[in-house]
Symmetry: D3
Subunit: 241 residues, 6 copies
């Protein structure tokens, strides 16, 4: 039986990606990003304060929070606000998003202000963290442009672009951009965060089933590189729109 993906995609084929700017009206940056059926609302909020450990140092801060609406998922999940705490997976993802976006920001040029990226999943179908990073970058650029248009900052604090994609080994075959059906049934799942200069910012691979070999790792990295090219193009198109 020949290999096929649940969605009928080719192994190296991403889902349709869309990046809509100005999705809501109050935030300085507001982006609805879709990777197939996965839809994440990413807003960037500017605040003229920094956390205590940075006060008086002339540097800014970029941070992120992540959440899933209770029924963004196939079956309803508990609301974290009602349970009274954010789960380990949520904390892990929001730390990743913040760390990743700080990697493309010159915090001195940003000045003593904080930009908070809120990434809220409206609909989940695998890859919410990679969609969130890819969309949050665009919201961040919009917020920085808003600051520039008001002449609040002089130098552009953004250097390069960042995006993220997942790769994995599904039924023995390396594939790009796993959806939920693949994600919940794969042997290895890896999230790649890269910049548009080809450098790695984060690399997180997990063997869910059997451990993966070095040659499999190489194949996954090659797939990831292909997906990255498409994501950077989609970001540029959205920002040019």
């Amino acid at each position: 039986m020949p290999f096929s993906r649940p969605s009928g995609r080719q192994p190296d084929q991403m889902r349709d990606v869309s990046i809509l700017r100005n999705y809501t009206r109050h935030a300085e940056g507001s982006v609805l990003v879709s990777f197939g059926h996965t839809r994440v609302l990413c807003t960037a909020s500017v605040d003229n304060k920094v956390p205590g450990f940075l006060r008086g140092k002339g540097e800014g801060w970029v941070t992120a929070e992540y959440g899933m609406l209770p029924r963004s998922t196939h079956t309803r999940s508990d609301r974290e606000a009602a349970r009274g705490k954010q789960g380990g997976r949520t904390l892990e993802i929001q730390r990743l998003i913040g760390r990743t976006l700080r990697a493309c920001v010159d915090r001195g040029a940003l000045g003593e202000r904080t930009i908070t990226l809120d990434c809220d999943v409206l609909q989940a179908d695998g890859g919410t963290r990679t969609a969130a990073i890819t969309g949050a970058y665009v919201a961040l650029v919009d917020a920085v442009n808003w600051l520039k248009s008001r002449k609040e900052i002089k130098r552009d604090p953004i250097h390069g672009a960042v995006a993220a994609v997942s790769v994995g080994i599904y039924r023995g075959t390396p594939v790009l951009d796993l959806d939920y059906a693949e994600d919940s049934d794969c042997d290895t799942d890896m999230n790649l965060v890269m910049n548009d200069g080809g450098g790695f910012i984060e690399l997180q691979g997990t063997a869910e089933g059997h451990a993966f070999r070095r040659d499999e790792l190489d194949a996954l990295l090659a797939l990831g590189e292909k997906g990255m090219g498409e994501l950077f193009a989609a970001q540029r198109a959205a920002l040019a729109g």
Copy 2:
């Protein structure tokens, strides 16, 4: 100087109301309701369990949870999941939504299952609780229709419709459906929840500034009744769509 509302509306004029069904794909009912710029995503989730106090009684339960995305508001609010608890306003609103929707449900006909309405504000501009109730009713009907289509229930548990609207006294004049600019600067704010038989389910009026008189109350109730008619029409149109 003649009276004028910030939005230029007539005192008895509602904002544009829209009710989109099937907004997300996983929930049994999923509605995006807009009252002007206020946009609330209402999902209805069916679960074949009931809370402990109802177990074994042959009755169902309808409950609600409410949340605001951190940057749905003019300035960013703290994420309740990160603060570790839902605030008093949130608890008050979600208790109201649940109580209100239970008022149009025959819980015996629903059988031993729970329908949870999640009302999440994507964009806030006043009246989020009234939009939430109005939209959640439609999501609830969709979830019940889903149960009926699967023959899981025999009798229709929904009797009548419920909707909600705010009225208030803005700069001395009674007005219908306050937006944020009015809501944050009014003397009296009242939320009305009614059924389509003209009965009151909830009536909550608060004097923010000077106390309101009986004749003002009468004027507010008349405005509310007008708005209700339009909301029930919008719900019927959406469900017929």
Copy 3:
């Protein structure tokens, strides 16, 4: 069978109301208020600080906290301190009490100080929130008088009086001041907070059973007005005592 109330009262008859001042010795105002078997201890505490959002504005603050002793009720309720959070009902009631009492205070005349009203239910038999508001007003006046006697404030910050009473539809008949037996078995329950000029400060009506009609609302408001007169008289008598 003719209508009768569990307590044998007439439909428009309040329970015996008593308001004892100086019930405990440390607080600047300390009142034990009883509506029949419902007994609430209301203390007013003066603090020479204001919450952060008011600092430096020359205005004071009035706030309230509410609690029930675990065995104030027919069966023991969990202690909120032990459960680690205040429930939604508690938060809703204490927000109501605070909002209501602020409605009769000139916060500029109070100066930069906070008065906290603690309303703790020693024995519950329905109507704890209306008794709390009615008693807290007297405790507030005592605390203000304490400030005046020490010459800490120049102008009287209290304008008018506030009191509260419940009305409802019990077995088809509108009645005044519901006790627990009625409250747990009524169709509609409404709490009225008014000032002694006849103005409404809060109006909260809930249909527990069938929705209530406009003529029923009118009847409830008339009953409420009657009760209010008696409560303002009881407050005046207590303060004159």
Copy 4:
């Protein structure tokens, strides 16, 4: 200058003690105990369940919870329910009360039911824990008598009586039953819990200032014994009343 206590009492003189039964109407036992200005409401609630670790063993349980109303004290304390947890002092005291009362109960004779003693301080002036134990014992006896009157238990589970008193060294002199003025300014503070057979159940002494010597300990124990006699007499009188 001769020694004198702030209250003018003799070193071996207790404050006036009063024990009022049936103070509130819902609890199976309800006692207002006063040691001078210290007033504690002690209720005993019967529940036909036991904690998990006792289920199916045919034994009962006695436990206690303790709280202070926010303005029972000279200056207002935070409400523990609002802070979201009980402090270390509260937990320590309620564990002491529960342990102490279990010492006079035959848990087999009680059968599989729990009696919860809620000790809530209405007014504090030192010695709240000793007053709580002394009053809770009487509430416990009333709850047990309620069970006996309903023939729910056959044998009396209460053996002997328990009471508690504080002793301490105030300005060099051993004194009995410290009030707040003494408690906050003494060198050594000791709480004694004893039964009416002269046995010690708990003994907790703390040197706040200089360490106490063995002869001082002996003097304190003698004072305590005197106080105990008066407390057992007060309990017997209350129960006979």
Copy 5:
């Protein structure tokens, strides 16, 4: 049948005591104390700040925190960090340790700095709190010596030594230094904290079974005094080492 202890010790015989200094490398004082199989790691950390209530008063503070590793016990206990709060027993013990060590410190001589004693139980076999106090004293002295060697303090803030031991009545016989087998099966358990001048700092006795008589108390105090002598010798030997 003659009396025997589970460990074969004489009634007045302590377990082997060892006090190892410099057990870990980062803390200003770090001691591993063993009472038989009970092993507690006590570290002393110096911080140049004091709690808010002491700020600007020229005085220092000494405080303690206590914890048990989840599998320090015979069966695994829940991790308090995971449960989200410290239990009542933990709070009680750490309050005791802090109070006790403050009793031998001249807080004026310490200056505006805080020394925190962390007492973490690596292996538990009864008597963890008495071992913790005895070891924490040595860690405290080491931290003070570190301050003196850096000339940060002029006068020695330590006056005298403190140590702690348990005594109890096991199967009718008063015994010294209870291990777990005795502790979980004794009638009376008493913790003594004393200084090396023979004064009592804390005395906490609890009758787990029948109440204890005055002559039993006297026997327990005599045993305690003997144990104290050995503990002070062990502390002196360790500090001389």
Copy 6:
């Protein structure tokens, strides 16, 4: 200036590794693992229950909890139990440890029981999570051997070994097994978890400074492979001891 590591090690040189078994006496497996000055106590506790989602499926569970003693670090950190929650870093690490050890366990062969690995850091100097995984594996094997010696399991549920090591780019040079001085000042930090068949279980790389290139990744993986060989040898030697 030639490259040198703060510790004087060669770039491909690990710190001294030691693995002590039976470090504490109650746990079924108890290991003190040291990577240089980093010391982690890993205990394995067997419980004859499984979490709810596995009940009745005939499979076991392996999970982990992680903590740092407050003064295991250079400056004291807050105690998580006192703060009332585990931080994001802690949750992330304990999820990693659990996932990793499950990768070498046949959960069917384990049967319906849970093994909990508690990894508590006594002294931290970089690499606590890699030391924890390496040591926890040995504790797990000891717990499984304990089960086998009692004939509670028939087949060996352990397949292969797992260990972990960090690699990173310090001042431009790829190095093996970073200590704290390197970790807090490096450009890229990567944690590798592998099995003794050469397969990857987890791969987590983060660019703290500039993004890392593909050739740097290859160099890091080669270093990691070398370290893994030494760790598997150390585990085998300890288990043979």
